[in-house]
Symmetry: C2
Subunit: 223 residues, 2 copies
């Protein structure tokens, strides 16, 4: 049975979750809104628009579209200031190269903006013209709706039931469940094992390096 | 039976954990060292010196004292740039006032620097001359060594077995266990329930507001 892998990007291949969290916090504070930072952390990984709507709803603020746009823009600007420090997660590139070497199809499905995504691909040393990447812009509804995963699996030409969706947030795993894919959790986004397992992870690994070390648990490969 | 409360500060009363994490990450990167940010997060709450030593050991870097000092200084400078955004956690001030009103003794025991601590007290609207605060500088060994908790309990004049130690990190809870105090976890530092419970929390609450709402579970009080 041939499997395929769909990877989330932020917190899964690139070590950017905490910077995204701080940037959301800053953008909300600028709008006179505030939410404990740990609550923002647990919402990361949703589509940006759903995320902004949920946050504003939780805070009890008006959720008019203009305000959502302003918060999203503020987040993006704050994130740009922190982006310079961000590095790939251990083993990210090696894992992707190993999959390619084993002829196991893979792709990236991310809620991030096209700009942040292309910066991350560069940090990972991936040629964007050679890498299959879908972002929220490619579908109508972002994570945790499964649309993005379904569209990516279709592009890969692999039935969704044979696809591993690897992510660090509960939203990746919930999305995986909703479309009957197989969710795999990584701790590298700062969410603990139990939260990932409760959201449906069939396995939890430390980071891409740890997943690569245990790849036999998920897919037959030559090494 | 009269109880007392000892509170951690960062992540427990003040919403500063994520900024501390980013600042450590920045300081380590400046030294040419790198560690996934989620791993830094799980070490937050230890004494700064122990923290820097552990990080350098994990990374495999030299742990000479000069380097530890440079990393600590870099962290402190990076943190200062982010400090402006930081706010008290929901209910922090209300909880402390309620304890005072109920004549339940309380104090703060923190691994933070005296400068960061005094900035946090100001944000919480606490008069530093009226608030019992012990920092790592007051004892030889910081958290998770129980020295800081034992010294604080002695200052409060309450036997350690009757003291609740409220914290958001596993190091507060480990320290509590090591001196036979009662550990209470808060999720507001971004660590999940199971990690806090495994470290010995007898109860876990969302934030100070949630603890205040459930204060009857821990101590008799008039309201």
């Amino acid at each position: 049975m041939k499997s395929a892998f769909i990877f989330d990007l932020d917190g899964t291949l690139i070590d950017s979750v905490y910077q995204h969290v701080i940037a959301w916090s800053e953008a909300l504070t600028s709008e006179g809104l505030s939410l404990p930072v740990s609550k923002i952390h647990r919402k990361i990984g949703m589509s940006g628009e759903l995320f902004a709507k949920q946050l504003l709803r939780e805070i009890g603020g008006d959720i008019d579209l203009e305000r959502v746009k302003r918060v999203k823009k503020g987040q993006s600007e704050a994130f740009d200031r922190l982006n310079g420090q961000i590095q790939p997660l251990p083993g990210a590139r090696a894992l992707l190269l190993a999959l390619t070497g084993a002829q196991i199809p893979w792709a990236i499905a991310t809620s991030g903006s096209p700009e942040a995504t292309s910066s991350s691909l560069e940090k990972l040393g991936l040629d964007s013209s050679q890498t299959m990447v879908l972002t929220g812009d490619d579908v109508e509804h972002g994570k945790p709706e499964p649309d993005l995963f379904l569209a990516t699996a279709e592009r890969l030409g692999v039935p969704i039931e044979r696809v591993y969706i690897v992510g660090d947030s509960v939203w990746d795993l919930l999305g995986a469940r909703r479309c009957h894919a197989l969710g795999v959790g990584l701790r590298s986004g700062g969410v603990g094992d139990e939260e990932l397992q409760r959201a449906g992870a069939i396995r939890v690994y430390e980071d891409p390096a740890d997943l690569l070390d245990h790849l036999d648990e998920l897919a037959t490969h030559p090494k």
